[in-house]
Assembly symmetry: D2
């Protein structure tokens, strides 16, 4: 047993797929730097994310849910367990139209009781479409 268990990409993907809700988002964990606290996730466009019928625009709701989830796992992968979200903020910067998303979460602080992660969401052209900042409860049990 390790003194500091961590989560591999495969373990993160299993968490994603095992959650009935997260499974609807279609997240794919693609790269990680555990020590730096950086986790990258790809999210393919799906029609059930569409804001207005025929617009092919991402609704802000799934973007928020993705930010919450990927920020959480940036900390979780360092701690080896999932964490409850305390709160988060999302800012929408540009419409995202029928595009896959690249989501990059970065740990800003992994403290004794609170962790903070920043999450950047970019479209297929690399343009920032939304940014998130979230706090999670890091206390065990």
């Amino acid at each position: 047993m390790s003194a500091s268990p961590t989560l591999s990409l495969e373990q993160i993907q299993k968490f994603f797929d095992a959650s009935p809700y997260i499974a609807t988002l279609g997240l794919r964990a693609v790269s990680q730097d555990i020590e730096a606290g950086v986790l990258v996730v790809q999210v393919p466009w799906q029609p059930h994310f569409e804001r207005g019928a025929g617009t092919r625009q991402w609704h802000g709701g799934p973007l928020a849910a993705i930010i919450d989830t990927v920020g959480d796992f940036a900390l979780a992968m360092q701690l080896g367990r999932g964490l409850p979200t305390i709160n988060f903020r999302v800012d929408y910067l540009r419409p995202a139209i029928a595009t896959d998303l690249k989501v990059t979460a970065s740990v800003r602080r992994n403290g004794r009781s609170v962790g903070v992660a920043d999450v950047d969401v970019a479209d297929g052209e690399g343009r920032l479409v939304a940014v998130g900042r979230a706090t999670y409860a890091t206390l065990a049990g």
Copy 2:
């Protein structure tokens, strides 16, 4: 034509049902006070909202999406049109387990270029499970 068009509950419900994404949330607009800026929406529990398989706990993602959407329509019903979200914050207060939700959005400010709404989310026992605060762009076109 009215100088200040508004949205009735029926019109709000049509917006909810016409959006492919919002339709997945199953929102039911149940009461409104347009002048006071208060909109109440019921949200029945659905299994695809489940956080961990078998937990019957609401994942925070759909809660955030519901907050964003209901806050938006509290302002939209006063202005007669939908509004882009600038940003929002959600705080999670208690787990919500296999319960319908009562969501109450209140306009705090409906200004020339920015509107602010607060959103309280309660479970079937009336306990607060999450609170949101969101800003929307109110400028026409």
Copy 3:
């Protein structure tokens, strides 16, 4: 000794006056409902709060500092001790011009490890000029 110590208005005022920084804000604790978690504070206008020379407009900085502090004491008065701020958000709704402020903080949740308070800031005419929402660490020691 009480099993659940609380802070009276006089004790809150002593905390305000004993902090070198808070003393510069000139807060006056005027009413409280400890059980409901509501604390009301008056803040007289002072020239060193002025945004642009000659404008007599409150700068947003002291408004934010006031929100953080009054929200903190709404929880602190229930717990009998000060609390570290985890994070907070402030939304500015209207300019406040050369006016005293009435600040009302309300506890939304006083949980085992995190507390949440809402703070409304009104000018002398009772118009809302800013709203805040803050989380504090409630764990002892």
Copy 4:
């Protein structure tokens, strides 16, 4: 006259010193990259920032005010004029004790009606003590 006026470090410093409130914070504009939207400000420790008498710890209030102000000028320096804050969030990561601060603001989006800036606040050892994220109204007059 330039089609896109900007603010030099000297002009930013003049704004800082001309505001009665900002002058109390003692900000020193030290470097800028206007195109990248990065502004760096140093803030010397002053006793009137002290949280508890004798602690020499920065109170969170002036940290929030500094974040609001420096984020604002990161956008202002690109637009050649000051901007009203819509809202901001501050997360406190570590106590800052009797230390000068290095504040780095970065523009994340400078849009037609809204701008977003991130602000990192580090102590004299380079440790992050607080982070901010703020939105400003970028529409002219």
